[in-house]
């Protein structure tokens, strides 16, 4: 499964490693819902570190769309909230 970390690129993560990612992803979501910025940051960094550890970077010239996309490492909670909103932050 291909995962993109925004601002960094794409990584190929095996399905065996997906369960741990889902758990960490849940922690990110819970922190956003609770409005807990410190918890959000540590959960996001844990998730990104895990993806980097288990994922294999894709070559720069691959044209594969990602199945999962993660926000940049330096995003704050409000920024991610906006990204997940109807409009999103991604420019057309």
């Amino acid at each position: 499964m291909i995962v993109r970390i925004m601002g960094e690129g794409q990584l190929d993560v095996s399905s065996a490693d997906l369960a741990s990612l889902q758990e960490l992803d849940g922690a990110v979501e819970a922190a956003i819902e609770a409005g807990d910025e410190p918890a959000f940051r540590s959960a996001l960094h844990a998730l990104l570190d895990n993806v980097r550890a288990v994922g294999k970077p894709l070559p720069a010239d691959s044209l594969e769309p990602s199945e999962l996309i993660l926000p940049p490492a330096d995003s704050d909670m409000d920024e991610v909230r906006k990204m997940l909103g109807d409009e999103g932050l991604i420019p057309d």
């Binding site: 594969e64 990602s66 926000p71 997940l84 420019p91």
Partner: protein
Amino acid sequence: MSVMKRMSMIFKSKANKALDRMEDPRETLDYSYQRQLEMLQKVRRGVADVATSRKRLELQIQQLERQHDKLTEQGRKALQVGREDLAREALQRRAGLDTQLADLRTQYENLQSEEEKLTLASQRLQAKVDAFRTRKETIKATYTAAEAQTKINEAFAGISEEMGDVGLAIQRAEEKTENMKARAGAIDELLASGALEDFSGPRDDIQAELDRMGATAGVELELERMKAELGQGPAPKQLDPGAPQGQAQAEQAPQQQAAPQQPPAQGPWPQQPGGAQ
């Protein structure tokens, strides 16, 4: 998959909207390629813009560092000639610069990391655009509507996702750079107004006072020397600016400073007692 899944859905829906507008896929491929080239130009401009801002900050940091050293030296000289009040004033002003310098250095590091990110994004996008061009030409050469659709969708989704990502990186870098420019502009204004003294500018009041005392001390020393020659008094003790005693005094000065006994200098930053490095 919550956050990760939702974000990928947002990208996909944007790519799908673009694909839905297609009439002749071959035209869309060409149009998309043009947009990619525009995006590459935009990224390169973004990298150049960030690099310019970084360079400007670098110059300002150097300017403030020179002023910082100058105030340290003034404090030392003032102590050597027994003017603790002047030394304290110089160290108070230096404390204001410390705050400013720390802030500028943090901004500089941020810009540097932004520049690196954009440079990498630019390289990645360039590789993807090249790959897309090859794919596009292949699709056009072997075009049959049904067969092409799937291939176009794949290539299109991949490239539009990359463009979305790079577009966001550019947007964020622009915001940060604008913020830095505003702050850098504020420092330029402070330098221009004299609130922050330009190292290459006219002499400041502490320097003027030290120079006046230096001149007076020179006259006094000469008088003492003359008196000694004439047998009217002991030989004068020469002040040596580089004497270790003076150095040590100056080094200890910051720790010796209690709360300022006089109002701090009118500076643009919150003043701190002492001269914390």
